[in-house]
């Protein structure tokens, strides 16, 4: 356990305190208690920036399941540090914002902050994990906490729908990713990402290379809401706005980007990877910015814009992956600019999009709606919010003096470079990349403009709003204002950011990269009359034309609702449910007899089948101990009691006879000198018999059943079970397929300090089994409780 492990686990540990803090201090907003944690974590990580900027990498190991090669290894390099800073930094701002956004009187704050911390820990674990299985574990945990957070207002149907959709899509992708990393682990024989990277040539020559790549990308694309899996993100906007700002724009949706960046050294340089990552990213950017301009809900507009911006970053990473075409990665600026642009835009996106989401939250909170058809003229009422919206919106549009301008220009450089690579058929198809990127940028510009102008300019219509609008509380403005100041700060000092954050991150993606001889010049706002600048000017001009013409346009781009991806998702969900309902209905008949038949037939087939395959019917009775007189007596009495169970005239008689069978079995244990078993058997038998007698109350009146004649099928099954068990018992001593392990348990006194071997096995040697057994017991008890309580409540309401 190192400080980095503690850093990852601290949010999980802190969640335990939250419900108690919430209950004991109802008058203080729970968010105030949560706030220090991300701040401290952020400070811890900031301290590492200088160390990492010098090129060192920190790695710590905690043994977890060493027998399977799974260790909780954490790895701090530029890439994970950058993500860590975003997670904790934006996390702190979001917590501060939520204090003013969620009213302490109405909302279930303890749930909210427990989920939030759960997510924060999971996300930190995800980016710092060095072991692919640990990475997967945290990956799914982010999906789960995202599900909980989207469904925070679970009374709303749309929240539940959005949560389910997000969960289904991201978890399905996560499973694909698991398969992908397992394939990689199978090729390389290790679960460590760094060791995998060092064996990249082995992976590239393996036939499962393509499959592993596709599966891994499926995970990344679903998580980062790439086309056509983007449909979950707009529905996820049902979450409270701080959550949308945090999970669905700044952190969780970037996990897919993290995954792509992390595995670029392995897959980069292959043509399929280049075209898939670049193509899907570009298509997503294009599609999402086209859809975004049609949105009337501000949050939905931001959701689509997030999808598009993520596509932009992924597209850049795809272009940059060409650097690996020549072995371990060349570091010429021709290739590396794209990667730098991707990282730079990722950081910028976290700042301006976080700010914009908080602005929407403020509008929603103060005006009671996010519909741009009802909003207007808020400029005079909310001047501060408007300023923040302008900063965030123009940064997203790519205008100076905001950081988005710099990364947008670098984006253009990156896509222009792509056509000069001279590999992967880029000399022909590569021309298309800048064109599509440019058109998408126009639409990006348009929706940014809509976002900034529609709610704030024009005429204010108080009659369309449910409440009187005011400027937001100061506390709510702090977080977006801080982010907005970063937006401007990064514009003026991009090279400091590059030195401490961006270049170390590049070094983590490109193994040979160093900031000094990278050939990348300093990031400059003005770099002459370059094609990039003309592209930006073109975007602004064309964007303004589209913006003013757009109002007069009819809704041209509208697919019939039957052919949308959403309809496909809903259809698949519905059909799957129907199918599984039909399949389950066909064998779950509700008749106990049928279920017993399944169980017994399954038992016979599995057990007798195994015995036949292994040829285990060689009965060796020589080592058996002689059967004593008492045992004969017990044997016949047990058989007599068993017959009585079946032939009993009343239920009571049958239950008592069943108890007799149980006690007599205990008698066998006594004779065979197993006092622990005997004790357990007697006690369990007593309690179950009493329970059984109590339950007799509920059974309907006993009707003397007329014998239905001889049931041949039942007879065969009964005979089969009897024969199987008997031959199993006889074969047990004759087939020593494995060496005995009992010698280990005989050392109970030396190993566990216990003279009672049975108990030493239960609590020490096989403690894991026992733990799960009591867990199952506990769950069973809860099940009984729920059944009875539900039934009783049902009766009461009648």
């Amino acid at each position: 356990m190192s400080w980095l492990h503690l850093l990852i686990l601290s949010p999980f540990i802190y969640t335990i305190l939250i419900p108690f803090l919430y209950k004991s201090f109802r008058r203080i907003h729970t968010g105030w208690f949560v706030l220090p944690l991300p701040l401290i974590l952020f400070a811890c990580l900031i301290k590492q920036v200088k160390i990492v900027a010098k090129g060192s990498v920190l790695s710590y190991v905690a043994r977890w399941i060493p027998s399977l090669g799974i260790d909780f290894v954490v790895y701090l390099d530029g890439l994970s540090l950058m993500f860590g800073l975003i997670i904790t930094g934006v996390g702190a701002l979001v917590v501060l914002y939520s204090v003013f956004y969620l009213a302490k009187e109405r909302e279930a704050l303890h749930n909210f902050y427990v989920y939030l911390l759960l997510f924060m820990g999971a996300m930190l674990g995800l980016v710092f994990a060095e072991n692919v299985l640990v990475l997967y574990l945290f990956w799914e945990l982010t999906s789960i906490s995202s599900f909980l957070l989207i469904a925070f207002w679970y009374q709303r149907k749309s929240s539940c729908y959005g949560a389910q959709k997000a969960f289904m899509i991201t978890v399905a992708g996560g499973l694909a990713m698991l398969a992908g990393v397992l394939l990689l682990a199978n090729i390389t024989g290790t679960f460590s990402i760094q060791e995998m990277i060092s064996q990249f040539s082995l992976i590239r020559n393996n036939p499962t290379f393509i499959a592993a790549m596709l599966l891994l990308l499926l995970g990344a694309f679903t998580k980062s809401a790439q086309f056509p899996f983007h449909i979950w993100l707009p529905d996820a906007m049902e979450a409270p706005t701080p959550i949308s700002a945090y999970l669905h724009s700044a952190t969780m949706v970037k996990a897919g980007i993290y995954l792509i960046a992390r595995f670029t050294p392995i897959f980069g340089g292959s043509m399929l990877w280049f075209w898939l990552v670049t193509g899907v990213g570009l298509l997503t950017l294009f599609w999402a910015s086209l859809v975004a301009i049609r949105q009337v809900d501000l949050k939905a507009m931001l959701a689509y814009s997030t999808v598009g911006q993520l596509g932009l970053i992924i597209c850049l990473l795809g272009i940059g992956s060409a650097a690996f075409y020549y072995g371990t990665g060349v570091t010429e600026p021709l290739y590396t600019t794209a990667i730098l642009a991707a990282i730079f835009h990722l950081v910028n996106h976290s700042t301006f999009k976080g700010c914009l989401f908080m602005v929407v939250g403020i509008i929603d909170h103060e005006a009671g709606t996010r519909d741009i058809r009802r909003l207007g003229g808020l400029l005079n009422i909310m001047p501060v919010t408007f300023t923040l919206a302008v900063i965030g919106g123009f940064a997203m549009a790519g205008l100076p003096p905001f950081n988005g301008f710099l990364s947008k220009e670098m984006f253009f450089t990156g896509v222009l470079n792509a056509s000069q690579f001279g590999i992967f058929h880029l000399e022909t198809w590569g021309k298309l990349i800048p064109v599509v990127a440019w058109i998408a940028s126009i639409f990006t510009f348009v929706y940014c403009l809509i976002f900034v102008t529609r709610p704030f300019l024009g005429k204010h219509h108080p009659q369309k709003l449910e409440k009187i609008t005011r400027e937001a509380h100061l506390g709510m403005l702090i977080s977006p204002a801080l982010l907005a100041s970063l937006v401007i700060l990064f514009f003026f000092f991009p090279n400091d950011l590059a030195k401490y954050i961006l270049y170390p991150t590049m070094a983590a993606i490109l193994p040979g990269f160093t900031a000094i001889d990278s050939g990348l010049g300093p990031i400059r706002a003005w770099h002459g009359w370059t094609p990039e600048l003309f592209m930006t000017l073109g975007v602004v001009t064309a964007g303004l034309v589209v913006y003013f013409a757009f109002r007069k346009w009819p809704r041209i781009i509208r697919l019939p609702s039957r052919f949308t991806w959403n309809a496909l998702y809903d259809g698949i969900l519905e059909k799957t449910e129907e199918l599984s309902g039909r399949v389950t209905g066909s064998y779950m008949t509700g008749r106990l007899r049928d279920y017993l038949i399944y169980i017994f037939v399954g038992f016979i087939i599995l057990t007798a089948g195994t015995m036949v395959i292994n040829g285990s019917f060689a009965f060796d009775l020589t080592t058996n101990s002689p059967v004593l007189f008492y045992e004969f007596v017990l044997f016949f009495v047990v058989i007599g009691a068993a017959v009585l169970v079946l032939r009993g005239r009343t239920r009571l008689a049958s239950v008592v006879a069943l108890g007799v069978v149980g006690y007599l079995i205990a008698g066998f244990y006594v004779i065979l000198r197993a006092p622990d078993l005997a004790l357990t058997q007697i006690v369990v038998e007593t309690v179950t018999t009493v329970l059984f007698l109590l339950c007799l109350y509920f059974l309907p009146r006993w009707n003397e059943e007329k014998p239905e004649g001889f049931r041949r099928f039942d007879f065969v099954i009964a005979l089969g079970v009897g024969l199987t068990v008997t031959s199993l018992a006889l074969a047990a001593s004759g087939n020593n397929l494995f060496d005995s392990i009992s010698w280990f348990y005989e050392q109970a006194y030396e190993l566990a300090g216990a003279k009672n071997i049975v108990n030493a096995i239960l609590v020490d040697f096989r403690g894991f089994d026992t733990m799960f057994e009591i867990l199952v017991l506990c769950i069973g008890g809860l099940g009984v409780h729920t059944l009875i309580k539900l039934y009783l409540e049902g009766r009461k309401t009648k």
Binding site: R63, P675, D676, L679, T680, V683, V684, T686, V687, V690, L691, L694, C695, Y697, F698, A752, G753, A754, K755, N756, V758, N759, A760, L762, V763, D764, G767, F768, T770, M771, I774, L775, L777, C778, G780, G781, L782, V784, H785, I788, K789, Y791, L792, R795
Partner: protein, 145 residues
């Protein structure tokens, strides 16, 4: 279901103490002799079942004003906690240790962390068994009316 069996009630009053003490003994003995958490918890539950047979639900409830579900959950958590605690001592999950200590009154005594785990087992078994029995019993008393 109010029972008026005087003989049963009288015997139960006496027997319950013996059974419950025996349960505690079985639990404590488990480390070196037959017994242990599971058996101890089960015998304890059996003792309370006897009380339930002899007296009505209300009386027994008053004697054990506990929510047994929490008892069961607490047991599982305790067992889990002993497992996790070993991680903090740099050992693997669920590894136990033991040693002999000199305690006042008891003299040389062997103490083992496995016993803590066993307490969890006993509580889980006891809690689950009683929770089920009380639930069914309660159900019957409502059913009757």
């Amino acid at each position: 279901m109010k029972s008026n069996d005087v003989i049963l009630q009288t015997v139960t009053r006496l027997m319950t103490f013996i059974i419950l003490s025996f349960a505690v003994y079985l639990f404590m003995a488990g480390h070196h002799n037959p017994g242990g958490g599971f058996i101890g918890g089960m015998v304890f539950a059996a003792g309370i079942v006897l009380l339930l047979l002899a007296f009505d639900l209300k009386t027994v409830r008053a004697g054990f004003p506990l929510d047994f579900k929490f008892l069961a959950a607490g047991g599982v958590l305790l067992a889990l906690g002993t497992g996790i605690a070993s991680i903090f001592f740099g050992r693997q999950f669920l590894s136990h240790s033991f040693g002999t200590f000199h305690l006042p009154l008891f003299g040389e005594t062997e103490l083992a962390t496995a016993v803590l785990f066993d307490v969890g087992v006993a509580l889980a078994v006891l809690g689950t068994a009683l929770s089920i029995i009380f639930d069914i019993r309660e159900d019957i008393s409502i059913w009757k009316h």
